[in-house]
C-alpha cells in the first residue's frame, strides 16, 4: 500500500511506555494466575472484591430513565444546577456562588487540566506550580502539558512514615511569590497522610506569606473519614482564612461514578465582574478542547 508522504511521520513514532497506574490494570487483566490480586487502581471494591454501585446512584438512574432526560448539548460550562450543588457540597455555607467561577469538568483529571491551562494563560507559561512529593503520578504530566514549571515540596518522610511538616513549610517559604501551591484536600494520594487541622493552619500561614495561589485537589470528600464536612475542613479553613482558592473536585470515588467523568473546577474571585471574566476565559479553554462536558 501507499507508504510515502503524508503518513511517513508515523514510521518515526516510537512505542510509548504504558501508564504507570492504568498500565498495571492492563497487565492484571492479562495475567492468568488464579491468585492474582489488583490493589493498584484507586477504585472501591466491596467484600467480594467487586465494583460497588451506590444504591443512591441506582435510584437516581431509575429516576432519570423515568423522567425521559433529553440528550441536548450541555452549555460549555456544564450544568450549573449540578455545579452549584457540587460547590455547596465542598464549600458548605460559606460558598459565595455569585463570585465563584465554576465549570463542570471531566472528573478530577479534567479539572486539573482546565485549571492548569487557566494558570498557564493568566499567570504565564513557565509559572511555577508546587506539587507535594510524592503526589498522584498524573499531576506531573497534566501541569507540564499546561506549560507550567512543575516543582515539588517535601511532604512525606519515609523515615517517620508521616508528614514532613518542617520540610514542607520550609519549601513553601522558599517558593517564589505567587507560585501555585497544589494541596490534596484530604486522603493524600499516594501516602494517605494528611495534616491535622492545626498543621493546615500553619500551612495556610506559610502560603499566605508568599501570596501563593492555592489549588486544592479534592477527590475523596466523604470517602476519607466517612464525614463529608470533616473531609472539607482544610478547604473551608483556607477559604475562611481569606485564600482565593481554586478547587478541582472529583465525584469518581465518593459517588462511584468513575467512568462517567464527573467533576468541577471552581475559582474564587473578588467580584461578580471578575467571576464573569474568569468564566468567559474558562469557556474559551473548554470549547476547543471538547466543546461541552458529558451530561
Amino acid at each position: 500500500s501507499f507508504c510515502d508522504g503524508g503518513m511517513s511521520f508515523l514510521s518515526e513514532v516510537p512505542v510509548g511506555p504504558p501508564d504507570a497506574i492504568l498500565g498495571i490494570a492492563q497487565a492484571f487483566r492479562e495475567c492468568t494466575d488464579p491468585n492474582k490480586v489488583n490493589i493498584c487502581v484507586g477504585a472501591y471494591r466491596d467484600e467480594n472484591g467487586s465494583p460497588w454501585v451506590l444504591p443512591s446512584v441506582r435510584a437516581a438512574e431509575r429516576k432519570m430513565i423515568e423522567t425521559d432526560v433529553k440528550k441536548e448539548y450541555a452549555p460549555i460550562d456544564g450544568d450549573q444546577e449540578f455545579v452549584k450543588l457540587a460547590l455547596q457540597f465542598a464549600y458548605g455555607a460559606d460558598l459565595d456562588y455569585a463570585t465563584t467561577a465554576a465549570v463542570q469538568t471531566l472528573s478530577g483529571t479534567g479539572a486539573c487540566r482546565i485549571g492548569g491551562e487557566f494558570f498557564g494563560r493568566f499567570l504565564g507559561k513557565g509559572h511555577k506550580i508546587y506539587l507535594p512529593n510524592p503526589t498522584w503520578g498524573n499531576h506531573v504530566n497534566i501541569f507540564k502539558d499546561c506549560g507550567l514549571d512543575v516543582q515539588r515540596y517535601r511532604y512525606y518522610s519515609s523515615e517517620t512514615n508521616g508528614l514532613d511538616l518542617a520540610g514542607m513549610l520550609e519549601d513553601l517559604k522558599n517558593a517564589p511569590e505567587g507560585s501555585v501551591i497544589l494541596l490534596h484536600a484530604c486522603a493524600h494520594n499516594p501516602t494517605g497522610c494528611d495534616p491535622t487541622l492545626e498543621q493546615w493552619k500553619e500551612i495556610s500561614d506559610a502560603v499566605k506569606a508568599i501570596n501563593g495561589v492555592v489549588f486544592f485537589d479534592s477527590a475523596y470528600q466523604g470517602f476519607a473519614s466517612g464525614d463529608a464536612e470533616l473531609d472539607a475542613a482544610a478547604l473551608r479553613l483556607f477559604v475562611s482564612e481569606g485564600h482565593k482558592v481554586t478547587l478541582a473536585q472529583s465525584f469518581a470515588k465518593n459517588f462511584g461514578l468513575y467512568g462517567e467523568r464527573c467533576g468541577t473546577l471552581s475559582i474564587l474571585t473578588n467580584s461578580a465582574e471578575e467571576k464573569a471574566a474568569v468564566m468567559s476565559q474558562l469557556k474559551l479553554i473548554i470549547r476547543p478542547m471538547y466543546s461541552s462536558p458529558p451530561i
Binding site: M7, V15, E61, I65, L106, K283, S291
Partner: protein
C-alpha cells in the same frame, strides 16, 4: 450496618472534630491579592453565544436556526427511539460505572470504526488502525491536533469556510491553521478548481482536513468523481488526509453512502485519519461520543501510534465517559436495533430535505429575485444561505430569527410550523 455508620465507629465521634473545626476556623476575611483582577472578559462563542441570546428573547414567534441540533417537526429536541430502547437495556443490565480504559470501550471503538470503514474493511482486518474513543468530534479533533504537533507537524489545512471551532481547536493544539479554497460565494457552489490548486500547493506531508460529508457550513460536497480526483492529488503530493465525519447517516439518509469518500481514500491506499462524531446521527449531543482513528502501515505501527495517543489522552481527561458509548455499542451490536437506527436517522434526513424543498419553494413563490437553488442543492443540516452580515442581523433584530453571522441556517430548526415565517422574513431582509 451502613457504610457510613461503620466508618463513624472506626474514626470516632464526629462531634469533637466538628468542635475543633468550628473554633479553629477564623471568621476574619482578609482580602489577599487579587490574582485574577487582570483577566479580561472574553468574547462569547459565535455559535453557542447565539443560544444564550435566543433564550433571552421574549418574542413569541422567535426561531433558533443557529446551533446544529436536530429538532422534530414539533420544534422539540428528538431522542431516537432506538436510543431510548438502548438505555432501557443498559439500565436493566445494572452495569457498573468503572473506569473505561484510556482508549474507551474496545467494543465501542470496534463498532464505531466498522460503521465508518465498513464491516469488511481490510485495514480493520489487518489491525492497521489505531482507534480510540474521544469526546465527540471536538475531542477527537483536538487529540489529533495535539498528536501531530507532538510528532513534528507545524500546520494543518482546513477548507474555507469551515466549522468555526476547527480553527481554535488546531491553534490551541499549537498548529498554524492554513486554508484552502472551498466555496465560491458568487455561484453558491464548490470552488473546485480553487480547491485543487490550493491543496496542490500544500507542502509534502501536510495534514489536510476534509469534511467527509455534509460540509459544515456550506452543505456543498464534492461528487464521488471529484473525490476520486482529490484522492489522487493528495496521494501525488504526499499529503495526510484527515476526515471529519460528523453526519454519517444523517446527510443522505444512507450511512454507507455518506462514508463513500472515506472508503474511497482507504481503497486508494491512503494512511488516513478520521474523527467521528455520534452527536447528530445518534442524537447523543450531550453525551460526547466520538472516535479518532489513524490508519498505519501495519499492525506494529498502529500499536505504536495507539500507545502515543494514550499518552496524549491521560493528562487531558484520563479516560472517556461511558454512558454514550454504551448506547452506541448496544445499538450497533444488534442487527434489529441497527436497522431501527438507520431508519430513524433517515427519517431525520428526510424531514430536513423536505424543509429545504419547502423553504426554497416559498421563497421563489414570494417573488424573490435571488436564486435559492442552493438551498436544495446543499446537503446535511445546514443551508448556507448567502445572506450578508447585515441581512442576518436584520433577520435577528426585526424578525427574531437567530442564525450565525455567516448566514448558516440550521435546517433542523425549520418546521412545517415556522417555514412560512422564516421564508417570508428572509424575503423581507433580502428584497431590494
Amino acid at each position: 450496618m451502613s457504610m457510613s455508620t461503620a466508618m463513624m465507629r472506626q474514626f470516632g465521634s464526629k462531634s469533637s472534630a466538628r468542635q475543633r473545626l468550628l473554633t479553629t476556623v477564623a471568621v476574619a476575611r482578609r482580602t489577599l491579592s487579587t490574582f485574577w483582577s487582570d483577566v479580561p472578559q472574553g468574547p462569547p462563542d459565535p455559535i453557542i453565544g447565539l443560544n444564550e441570546a435566543f433564550a433571552k428573547d421574549t418574542f413569541p414567534q422567535k426561531v433558533n436556526v443557529g446551533v446544529g441540533a436536530y429538532r422534530g417537526d414539533d420544534g422539540k429536541p428528538y431522542v431516537l427511539p432506538c436510543v431510548r430502547e438502548a438505555e432501557q437495556i443498559i439500565n436493566a443490565a445494572q452495569l457498573d460505572h468503572e473506569y473505561a480504559g484510556i482508549i474507551g470501550e474496545p467494543q465501542f471503538v470496534d463498532l464505531a470504526l466498522k460503521f465508518a470503514y465498513g464491516n469488511d474493511s481490510p485495514v480493520l482486518a489487518n489491525k492497521q488502525v489505531a482507534g480510540v474513543q474521544t469526546l465527540s468530534g471536538t475531542g477527537g479533533l483536538r487529540l489529533f491536533g495535539e498528536f501531530i504537533r507532538k510528532f513534528g507537524h507545524s500546520h494543518i489545512y482546513v477548507p474555507n469556510p469551515t466549522w468555526g471551532n476547527h480553527i481554535p481547536i488546531f491553534q490551541n493544539s499549537g498548529l498554524e491553521v492554513r486554508k484552502y479554497r472551498y466555496y465560491d460565494t458568487a455561484s453558491s457552489d464548490l470552488d473546485y478548481n480553487g480547491l485543487l490548486s490550493d491543496i496542490g500547493d500544500a507542502p509534502a506531508g501536510s495534514a489536510v482536513l476534509l469534511h467527509a460529508c455534509a460540509h459544515n457550513p456550506t452543505g456543498m460536497d464534492p461528487t464521488l468523481e471529484q473525490w476520486a480526483e482529490i484522492s489522487q492529488l493528495v496521494k501525488s503530493k504526499g499529503l495526510l488526509p484527515f476526515f471529519d465525519c460528523a453526519y454519517q447517516g444523517f446527510a443522505s439518509g444512507n450511512a454507507p453512502q455518506d462514508a463513500a469518500a472515506i472508503r474511497l481514500f482507504v481503497e486508494d491506499g491512503h494512511n488516513l485519519a478520521l474523527v467521528q462524531s455520534f452527536s447528530k446521527n445518534f442524537g447523543l449531543y450531550g453525551q460526547r461520543v466520538g472516535a479518532l482513528s489513524i490508519v498505519g502501515q501495519d499492525a506494529d505501527e498502529a500499536s505504536r501510534v495507539l500507545s502515543q495517543l494514550k499518552i496524549c489522552i491521560r493528562p487531558s481527561y484520563s479516560n472517556p465517559p461511558r454512558h454514550g458509548a454504551r448506547i452506541v455499542s448496544t445499538i450497533l451490536s444488534d442487527d434489529r436495533l441497527t436497522t431501527d437506527f438507520i431508519d430513524q436517522c433517515k427519517d431525520m434526513a428526510d424531514r430536513i430535505n423536505s424543509m429545504r424543498v419547502q423553504l426554497r419553494s416559498i421563497l421563489e413563490g414570494a417573488g424573490s429575485d435571488r436564486s435559492w437553488e442552493h438551498v436544495t442543492k446543499q446537503i446535511g443540516m445546514f443551508a448556507y444561505s448567502g445572506l450578508s452580515k447585515e441581512e442576518v442581523t436584520a433577520l435577528r433584530d426585526d424578525h427574531h430569527i437567530y442564525c450565525t453571522l455567516d448566514g448558516r441556517i440550521s435546517m433542523a430548526g425549520v418546521t412545517s410550523g415556522n417555514v412560512d415565517y422564516i421564508a417570508n422574513a428572509i424575503h423581507e431582509v433580502t428584497k431590494k
